[in-house]
């Protein structure tokens, strides 16, 4: 019997980047790079762990936008083309570096990785790697979490409850469509929680969600176990709080493992380093240099004079770091077990794309971690939040505090000088979307299609990614353009629907462009239905304060 549990959660998300109107579109590379460097390496690690019979459990959220892109034939084709170019480059690199053994073996490593990625993508999963994750869930090692439709930042749309409801409901419906099952867990985009939104999670059949540490620590009434155990919201949905210590060891840009000098340097890439004419076919078509994914150096130190990457040394370091991470969890759990009357749960969520893409050795680290946890100690056991709820169905009733996992813990990243201008337009669109749903309960034909498309455009405009990009300062024009384009298309549709005169040819065009959520049911935006959900449960804060006698919920009773 372990003294405590560790829930490793990876959050996999990309905004919907699909541009059929161009033969090449730079931002689609976000997806292609993530597939090669993060998703496929993770699949390889998890499948090997399962094949080897290592007892472990892990959770992973895969957002509806990412699931949709995994399933999109155009992007699948384009990824394969991208990968073939990469394989070709790696082959040329193997030849070019023949007299440089320290680089030659790296070129070989990349060629090998890319070829394996191709075999997995094309031959094993017939271009849809979502199936790999679904298989892992069916094999009992992975728990896949649902997420909001387009990663909308829910607290900042609180003024429109139908908009919040739609993000959650369409997200859970999309999970059902692709995964073929009801989701248990839900990843709140950016861990951003606003009290009361759990009622829409309950409506969607969700059992639990994750918030940052202070979401639970500052919950009310004060949670008995702080963030080392879940609480039940008054709606009956469980909330788990992130553990700070384990987060910091991996996340922190200064103290975290990924900054180790033996690990691969992200910023040195042959796309920037090699002679122009040679690299020209593998960078942007207009000749602008870019990252290719072939990187030959290790971080080395705070210097521009980088040393060649040594995979064996890096692997050894990853093993050490996995051991260190496990040791710290053991110490943490050993202490907590002495003061708690139940086994503590350490919740450790990370962006999936940290693993492999930024932190090249991340997947190997994860591999070592699960093997060590299984065989080198007995104090801590890997678990999913869903399993923990089954072990401890009786939990305290309390309302989590508004919070997010962004910088400073609240909404500042997504609401500040560079991006605050978007909200008046998003809120207006939310109001109009509800109006369309209310006034057209039985729409058919082209009007129905137009309202569905309006909902798609509205949802795509809501991605938290756009505000985030405006704040962080990379590819700002793209984020601004996406916001304006989706809102612009929404407004034009709204006006045409109001006039009863939809330009069908244009509608067909944007249906083809923004093709996410094909079977979207816009009635989710109806205000009466939304009010029905809200009326069905008590005011969260009041219930928790006023009825201490009823302050416990058990999963069985829900």
């Amino acid at each position: 019997m372990p003294q405590g549990y560790l829930a490793m959660i990876l959050h996999a998300h990309l905004p919907y980047v699909r541009h059929p109107e161009h033969s090449y579109f730079l931002e689609e590379n976000w997806l292609y790079e993530a597939i090669t460097e993060t998703y496929i390496p993770l699949i390889e690690v998890l499948e090997k762990l399962a094949d080897d019979g290592v007892p472990f459990r892990m959770s992973m959220s895969i957002t509806p936008t990412l699931m949709s892109m995994f399933n999109d034939p155009l992007l699948q084709d384009r990824y394969l083309h991208h990968l073939d170019k990469l394989i070709e480059l790696a082959e040329r690199e193997e030849e070019r570096t023949r007299w440089q053994p320290e680089f030659h073996r790296l070129a070989h490593m990349y060629r090998d990785r890319f070829s394996r990625a191709r075999a997995l993508f094309e031959d094993r999963y017939h271009r849809n790697i979502l199936q790999a994750f679904i298989n892992l869930q069916n094999r009992g090692v992975l728990e896949i979490l649902a997420s909001a439709a387009t990663h909308g930042f829910l607290p900042l749309m609180d003024i429109s409850q139908p908009a919040v409801r739609a993000q959650i409901k369409i997200g859970v419906d999309t999970y059902k469509r692709f995964v073929g099952a009801q989701a248990k867990g839900f990843w709140l985009p950016e861990c951003a929680y606003h009290p009361g939104h759990d009622r829409f999670l309950r409506e969607a059949g969700i059992a639990y969600f994750i918030v940052d540490a202070h979401g639970i620590i500052c919950a009310s009434p004060r949670p008995k176990y702080a963030n080392l155990a879940p609480i039940y919201c008054p709606s009956g949905v469980a909330a788990f709080g992130r553990d700070l210590e384990s987060s910091k060891q991996v996340w922190s840009a200064t103290e975290g493992y990924p900054g180790d000098f033996d690990y691969r340097e992200f910023y040195r890439d042959v796309g920037y380093d090699l002679e122009y004419d040679y690299i020209r076919p593998y960078i942007q078509p207009d000749g602008t240099r870019m990252q290719t994914g072939i990187k030959y150096y290790r971080i080395t130190g705070h210097t521009y004079d980088k040393q060649p990457y040594d995979p064996d040394r890096a692997r050894e370091k990853a093993a050490n770091h996995a051991g260190n991470f496990m040791f710290n969890r053991e110490k943490q759990v050993e202490y907590l077990a002495t003061v708690m009357d139940r086994a503590p749960l350490v919740v450790a969520p990370y962006d999936a794309e940290l693993f492999g893409h930024w932190w090249f050795e991340g997947p190997v680290w994860l591999d070592f971690l699960f093997r060590k946890l299984a065989y080198d100690q007995q104090t801590v056991k890997a678990i999913t939040p869903g399993d923990y709820l089954a072990l401890y169905p009786r939990n305290q009733l309390s309302t989590p505090s508004m919070s997010s996992w962004g910088y400073k813990g609240y909404h500042e990243v997504w609401l500040e000088g560079s991006n605050d201008w978007i909200y008046r337009h998003l809120h207006k669109a939310a109001e109009r979307m509800a109006e369309l749903a209310d006034t057209h309960p039985e729409a058919t034909g082209v009007i129905r299609r137009a309202i569905q498309q309006a909902a798609r455009e509205f949802l795509l405009a809501q991605s938290s990614d756009w505000a985030f990009i405006m704040k962080t300062g990379t590819v700002v024009p793209y984020a601004q353009k996406r916001t304006k384009d989706h809102l612009g298309r929404f407004t034009r549709l709204y006006e045409q629907i109001k006039r009863g005169a939809v330009e069908e040819e244009w509608l067909r065009e944007i249906e083809y462009l923004d093709n996410i959520f094909p079977d979207l049911d816009y009635s989710v935006y109806r205000t009466d239905a939304t009010a029905g959900v809200l009326d069905a449960s008590p005011e969260p804060a009041l219930a928790a304060v006023q009825s201490p006698a009823g302050s416990t919920l058990s999963a069985a009773g829900r």
Binding site: H22, E33, P221, R222, L244, Q291, E412
Partner: protein, 352 residues
Amino acid sequence: MFHKELAEMTRSELLQAAQELDIGVPANISHEGLVELIRNFAGTNPARGRKPFGTTRIWPAVPAEGTQPAMAGPGPTPAKNLESGYELPPGYGDTRIVAMVRDPYWIHTYWEVTEPAIAGLRRELGPSAWEASRMILRVYDISGLNAEEAAAVSFNPSLAARYFDIVINPYTNNWYIDVGAPNRSYCIDLGILTQDGRFIRLARSNPVTTPRAGLSEIIDEEWLTLDEIYGFTLRRGYGFGQSSIELMQPLARRLAREMGSGAVSSISSWGRRPVAERPFWLTVHTELIVHGATEPDARVSVAGQEVKLRPDGAFTLRFALPDGERAIPVAGTSAHTGETIVITPVVAKHTH
């Protein structure tokens, strides 16, 4: 004057606006210069006004247009790929104010006032009273009030736990308000404050509640808090010292840590390079190109490795060339006669 575009105003109108805003104006300033001056003021200078109590720190929002962070590094420049797109309207013809919580201490609000609403008020007050009036945000602390009481605070501000005014200049449409107190509920009236102290409401915001910045004071008897856990977790997670947990507040001030999805790995910062200053530098690399041609169906090997010929029988190889001397035997074998020709260039490279 609230909604007339600055650029469309006459010089004398602009000068009057500048005076109202206490902006010093150089005598020979151009029309554009004047517009710029007022616009900058609206964007950067704190509003002045009466503060009924306490110290209300205010910093205004950056204007929606014209400000964006510079792109860092040789990041992608996608704009060239994009067809000309949609622009958003400046407003929607509503007189409306909306509030959003940013964190335990700050609220953000944006608003819109229509021309007819302004014109109506102006008529009602008369031109001179109108000119002497100011547009304000009146922020009410409505914590603990029921819906009816909250609705009545505009007419009876004493119902609110406290309220304060922020004078806004006519050229802003959003503001960050330091409400200073976590776990309180607020709503905001947008309106006109006349010289004789009368408040005329134009719009009322949605109510918002700031989150708690520390531990809840409410303890559930059935689930008595295990203080040791809080002590352990807060010390190790937030770096608090050995103080009692009641002293470990407020938490919100400790959250500015180097973590979170934005800190390290968000996908959208892909391709960005560090922007740190690099001292003067120079790198030199050498590569060797070996090329040749034979009959298209011949077999060619270079330094022992088979080479794929182009359809015309030509081949090109490219090698990174480290220091030293190398022999590169190139062997071609005819597909018909089996005859082999070997040519061996020897290349020496040295760096001084």
